[in-house]
Symmetry: C2
Subunit: 256 residues, 2 copies
C-alpha cells in the first residue's frame, strides 16, 4: 500500500460518528491517503489524558466509504498514539483533529481533547492541526469550516510546520457573506468562572455538574477571541513547551 500521496491521520474528540469528523475526512480525501482513528464515544474535555490503567480496544470501522478507519476505546491522545505506532506503517505527513463541535479558543486549549490530539502530533514532530467550529450543535453547518480547513491543510502540506508547533484553528459560526477571513494570533488569557450545579439523587445524596461562565478579561487585540468576535477564523501556533522562560530569572533570586 505504498503511495507518494501525503499520509494523513484523522481523529477528533466528539467520537467517530460526529458530523465534524465526517466533514474533516471529506476535506482531507483529495489531499492524500486518509486513515481515521477516532474515539468510540464522546471524549470532550479529556485534555491530554492517556489510558494507562485499562487496556485499549481498537476496532475496524466501516463508517467511512473507501477509507481505512478504526474506533478506539481511549482518549483522543490514545488515538494519535495508536494511529502512529499500531495502525500506520510509517509516520503520517499530517495529523488533523476535529472538526470539533464547539470553540477551543483561549484556555480551552488545555481542556480540549481535539487540541490535545494535535499537541500530541507536535510532540512527535509531525505537522498537526486541531480544527473547531464555534457551534456546539451536533448538526451544525460546516460549509465555511470546510473551506478554512482545506486552505490551512494545503498550506501546511506545502510549507511544512515550524518544529514542535501545531495549529489551533477556530472558525466562527457564520454565513459565507459574514465570514471575514483568517488571522494568525495568540491565545486569549480568558478563563472559566466555574460553578457547580448541586443536585440530590434518588437516595438524597448530592452530586455535582460542572458549569460556569467564560470570562474574557483579556482586552488586548490579536487574541483568538478578539478575531472570532470580529468574524475571522483564528489560527494560534501552539507549543508543548510550557516553560515560563521569563520567570526563571525571578525564581533564581528565591532562597531555594
Amino acid at each position: 500500500m505504498s503511495s507518494n500521496r501525503p499520509l494523513i491521520l484523522v481523529t477528533n474528540d466528539d467520537g467517530i460518528s460526529a458530523k465534524g469528523l465526517f466533514s474533516l475526512v471529506e476535506v482531507m480525501k483529495p489531499l492524500g491517503e486518509v486513515v481515521v482513528v477516532a474515539p468510540d464515544s464522546p471524549q470532550s474535555g479529556m485534555g491530554h489524558a492517556i489510558t494507562i490503567n485499562h487496556p485499549l480496544r481498537l476496532e475496524k470501522s466501516t463508517l467511512f466509504e473507501g477509507i481505512t478507519a478504526y474506533s478506539c476505546s481511549g482518549t483522543p491522545v490514545d488515538c494519535v498514539k495508536l494511529g502512529i505506532y499500531e495502525v500506520l506503517n510509517r509516520k503520517p505527513d499530517l495529523v488533523v483533529s476535529g472538526i470539533n463541535h464547539g470553540a477551543n479558543t483561549s484556555t480551552n486549549v488545555l481542556y480540549s481533547g481535539t487540541m490535545s490530539a494535535a499537541i500530541e502530533g507536535a510532540m512527535e514532530w509531525l505537522p498537526s492541526i486541531g480544527f473547531s467550529l464555534c457551534n456546539f450543535d451536533g448538526n451544525a453547518d460546516f460549509s465555511i469550516a470546510k473551506k478554512v480547513v482545506s486552505t490551512i491543510a494545503e498550506q501546511t502540506l506545502k510549507n511544512g510546520m515550524p518544529k514542535g508547533i501545531c495549529l489551533n484553528v477556530n472558525i466562527p459560526d457564520l454565513r459565507e457573506e459574514e465570514f471575514k477571513g483568517v488571522k494568525v494570533c495568540r491565545q486569549a488569557h480568558a478563563y472559566w468562572e466555574d460553578s457547580f450545579d448541586k443536585r440530590l439523587d434518588q437516595f438524597n445524596r448530592p452530586y455535582y455538574w460542572l458549569t460556569g461562565d467564560f470570562s474574557d478579561q483579556d482586552k488586548s487585540e490579536n487574541t483568538d477571541l478578539y478575531w472570532i468576535e470580529r468574524g475571522y477564523a483564528s489560527v494560534v501556533p501552539t507549543q508543548f513547551d510550557l516553560t515560563a522562560y521569563e520567570a526563571i530569572k525571578e525564581l533564581e533570586n528565591w532562597s531555594l
Copy 2:
C-alpha cells in the same frame, strides 16, 4: 472558621490514600490551614481532563486527623475546581498537588494529573505547585522530598508567584548525603517513543497496553532532566499560555 493563616488546598493524582499525599499534608500543616480535596481513585495520566458527561461525587473523608478532607470521583482538575468553588469559602492562598509517585519532568507535564491540578490553580491566578518524587514505588521514601516541599512552599508564601505561573518541582530519589540542592530550569524536550503491548483476551480479541521508552534527545544544559540526573531537584516555572509567539510571524507569510 476565619483565620489569618494561609489557606492551603491540597490535591494529587495518585488518589486520596497515597503515601505521597499524606507526606504533602504533613509538610503543609505547620504552614497554614489545610483542606484536602483528592481523587477517590488513581488518576495518573489524566492530564487536564475535566468531567462533563458524568455527575461528580464529593465525600467527606476522615483519613487525615484534624484536617478537613474530601474525596472526589473526578480528575485532579475537577478536585481543584470543586475545592475552590464548592468546598472553600474563599480562594486559597496556595494550591499544592502531589507528592506524585513518579517523575513529571519534561513533556510528562502534559500527561500528568498532578501538574494539571497545579496549572488549573495558575489559571485561577493562585500560587500553585506540583511536586513529584522520581520513584514510582507506593512505599517510596519521601524524607528528602518533604524538605524540598517545605522550602519551596515557604518561599512561595513569602515571595508570591509570578502571575499565571505555577511550579513543576521534581525531586530525585536519593539519600540525604547524595542530594545536591535545587535548580530553576526549563522543561526538557524529551518524549515517549511509544509502543503497544498487544494481547488477546479470553475471546481471542485483541487489546492493547500503552508502553514505551522515554527518549531524551535534548542534550542542552539547564533542563529538568539534566539536573535530576546530577542529583538536584528541578523547579520549572510553568505557564498555561501555549502560544508559540515566535511562530506567529512565520505563519503570517502563509497564504491564508
